[in-house]
Symmetry: D2
Subunit: 338 residues, 4 copies
């Protein structure tokens, strides 16, 4: 039984607490640290048989009975808490992104390298049942040599313009998941990116200096090509599809829906829209990534996705940002001296 501390009990922290309770039988939540201990957190703690409730995450880091922590605090604190936790000898699962800047990510990578413990990053989408099936088909050779990867990712609702400045921009906030997915699915690193953005959804996003619609083309080191398209608003729901094409075939995934019901009327044949909210689509994936993290800790397996993956996805997102701004293809070796 792995003893776990949860650092941060906002929306995503509570998702992880609930996920451990219902489906990670070899983990016990020993402590929860949150700036405000709400009634909801107290109830969750009671269900979980949690011993420690604290406003100071360092209480958890100092507790020698805690094996691992899940960092679910605000993005800006991820890297610093990661380093402290690693130095305290705790296995770390850190929510995505580790940081919006490469310098801090590198600090975490370095701390993880010398720590001798596990460090996993929350690229939850890799653990979704559909992407898993896609990855399995590709890695088992069913599509042969990968020639083209296509990812479509559209939010159901745009963020408030206020959020934009702290988001790092669409490519770092949103496309970063798709860039990670290209690496995950293709098994190849990226050689060059070309990105274009447009403001078509909300002019306030444009005034805040960001785009809300984007397309990215990637040349992979393997020779394959990849295409990503993003939008901040799909009125029909959270749209998450992907396709990998290769020498032996093509595998694609479609959206999940609330039911398989199809209604045929004089007005048309109507089926369900995709889920609206990312948590409806990815809730099981949030649980699965923690399950695998706990297994990696318990059995000393390698973690399925680490800090180096976070660094590479961030680098790709930065290259996209640069490409869109300078309207030219950006080679990844421009960043190599970093």
């Amino acid at each position: 039984m792995i003893q776990v501390g949860i650092i941060g009990a906002g929306r995503i922290g509570r998702v992880h607490i609930q996920g451990i309770l219902s489906g990670v039988p070899n983990a016990h939540i020993r402590g929860i640290a949150a700036p405000h201990i709400t009634d909801e957190i107290k109830t969750l703690a009671r269900s979980a048989g949690t011993e420690i409730l604290t406003q100071d995450f360092r209480v958890l880091l100092r507790d020698s009975r805690i094996d691992a922590v899940l960092i679910c605090s605000p993005t800006s604190t991820h890297a610093d808490i990661s380093v402290e936790a690693l130095q305290a000898g705790k296995h770390v699962f850190c929510e995505k992104p580790v940081d919006l800047g490469l310098v801090k990510i590198q600090t975490v990578i370095d701390a993880a390298a010398v720590s001798g413990v596990k460090y996993q990053v929350g690229f939850n989408r890799r653990f979704d049942h559909n992407y898993q099936a896609l990855h399995r088909a590709v890695s088992s050779g069913q599509v042969g040599q990968v020639q083209m990867v296509k990812i479509c990712s559209r939010d159901s609702e745009p963020p408030t313009p206020k959020f934009i400045p702290s988001s790092g921009g669409l490519f770092l906030d949103m496309t970063v998941h798709d860039l990670d997915m290209v690496r995950f699915l293709s098994g190849s690193e990226v050689e060059e990116v070309y990105a274009a953005g447009s403001v078509l959804v909300d002019e306030a996003i444009g005034r805040a200096g960001d785009v809300d619609t984007a397309a990215v083309m990637l040349r992979l080191e393997s020779g394959a090509l990849a295409l990503i398209d993003n939008s901040r608003r799909a009125v029909y729901g959270y749209d998450q599809r992907a396709e990998v094409f290769g020498s032996l075939g093509c595998v694609s995934i479609d959206n999940d829906t609330p039911s398989t019901a199809v209604l045929s009327t004089a007005g048309g044949v109507i089926s369900e829209k995709p889920h609206w909210f990312f948590l409806e689509r990815y809730l099981p994936a949030f649980q699965e990534e923690v399950r695998q993290f706990i297994d990696a800790v318990a059995n000393d397996y390698p973690v399925p996705v680490g800090a180096e993956d976070a660094r590479k996805a961030t680098l790709l997102a930065m290259a996209c940002t640069r490409s869109a701004r300078e309207r030219r293809p950006v080679r990844m070796d421009e960043f190599q001296t970093m």
Copy 2:
């Protein structure tokens, strides 16, 4: 917070314990009664903060802090324990079937009638997301006047021939779910049934006096017709589909699958098979029925499906058995004197 006792911790009992833990926040499992207290049960009890572990279900019935019990013991004990629990003033959720015989079911109905507490029966399929969507479309009027109901229900694997004698036969064991579904979806009672069975899957089932393949046609009081087809073995998985056709349209549901992945190769376009095991398909439905039971108890709502529904479905299954045996249509009023 409703205090719950679980009677019986076999497969389905553990499904309910897990279901309450992960998704029925206003229920606490105060006690578990099981003939053998295994380590698995002890672990579950610890996660759930359960105070009482006993081999004697009457310990739970006597405990005044327990509001409601879930009866998950073997079928042959359902009716007797139901009556005892009702007499002890406990709200009861009883797994399906209440009994294979009408006499005992009537005893339960009578006990429930005088008890002043809730009595819900585990027709889990009514709570499945797909059947719920189907029912919603029908009851909201989207297909107009119902004219035809079709239900296809096929198991992935036949039971062992040993199980047959105690099962009540295919119509009472398997079709009973579909018969309940016809009532649920059509909103109408049944006037007449015509059923045919065949032994096409396993001759040992035939030697045990049962059939493994069946078709049922129903005339409903509303004038609508209904068709059911069953098989004990679909090699591609647990097959659960339905369709309601009416004056304004048609609504149908298809199977759930492990993922939406579709693989196109030189050999064909291949998508996922339906789930193999009924628990993969209906796990959320098992949770949802208990959630609604607890809500009915907590808020004094009527239960969504009661003992009278069990009696009617059992009666329909008996009529099917008689029809198949005597090779003639059987009117439901043949049973009216019972």
Copy 3:
């Protein structure tokens, strides 16, 4: 090059003329007989290079250069013209039904037996690309031993009540296609039928002595079961689906649609309705049956569907009519003395 005479140039006759022109290269339409030679017929004849236009079909039967005739005249004349044509030594393709009564059908069977020429009946649905794919999957053994056949056939619009008396009733007019399909798909004869009908679409149909909604259950000699459901009105279009289930799997066909377009909006995910009109769905099948008839004539192959198939389907439709009227299962051997 087979020289063809067309007898009757109403809607279906013109469909066949057009079909031969565009896709039966080894047939030449030498003559057309029609009670009224309209301008449309004249234009068609000119395109086809047709030499003879006559109001008297016997002109065609006497013309020694004509090898084969297509009988597209009104139903009541099918049998008599068939016999005359066979006696004149012409190969005959006769539109369905050969007759609504068994006596006349038998006369045609007898005339065909002694004629030494081909006699094909227009069960066009057997030649539809979807039913052909279904049949191919079954006959190649891909579903193993057939255990269940299901056919759903719904018209988009009911006939005018005036048509009912001459139609023979829903089972002879509509279900007859599905009964033929059960034989075609299962490769088995029928042992017993049980049919139920209801008047749910149009009370005038009921007043004319017919039903507009029907369900049929069949026990096949092979032990398999079959289910058919019919409606005179599906508001979403002409609904033609089927499924064959067996020991090794299940194969099903869905409706054709005008396009594969899918529109996702805030209001739902909308795809195309099935075709509305039976000719939109079955036009290629009408051409394909004639192509195979001409090939059978040209190469002295057996015809794919003959007068005996018409007799058996008619017998099954009569058994359905009797079953629905007498509300009892009807064994096919009740008809054996005929």
Copy 4:
């Protein structure tokens, strides 16, 4: 009745002859010019009642009874014959491409401008039922303001490497259809293209100086973005899909298949592959474009797609070629002085 001359009776010429015969009732094929008058052409001519069979296309241009010609000769002759035909006062339908070079295309545009007759170009895909449905959804406003256009176009088999030098390269030979489709669907002109190619299918194609795999990103003048991906070989068949995303929703089209049959077995759920051959997919579109051409001639309507569309698609394909070669985005105004 429009009198038509066919110039060139190779594969595509014969497709048009057959198409006119079976579905363009207001056209008569008066003459066919072909360098070799084969038996197959003679048979077609007989069916069509064609008066003139000649090896010299100028015989048709000089025949005053011929209203319109279809140019189906080799690509290299399209432009010159177009100009001659226009100068002879014939309405012209010219197979795609008009020419691989802009100079000759301009000559045709100029000749058409002064001719006073119709000039239509064979962008057949615009007339396909699926693309038509897509276009209708977009142009009727169902997806709102267009934000993203995606086109996937993959051949089932690569051309022989010998064909490559005369093809103009993948972008001019294959992508040109998709580039035209982006204009057709978006209703917007293109501002800038970025294209990447790779040799992943056949190294001989690479040695011939071409690519076999490509991706294109386009910025449209409207602010929308577009993505195209191409491959010379999809082992599962001819893959032709598209999607338009906008402020009110998303509309997509999928491949056509030979049937709707779905086979569920222990090995998986298998549906049909797309058609293998472009003529299976686009045969009705080849007929429809000629039908609309003849209607435009008969009623003096504007043609649905003209020489200027050919020029623009060619220009875009040239920009792609340049972009892929120079590895930089290419603005369309680089070409404006031409």
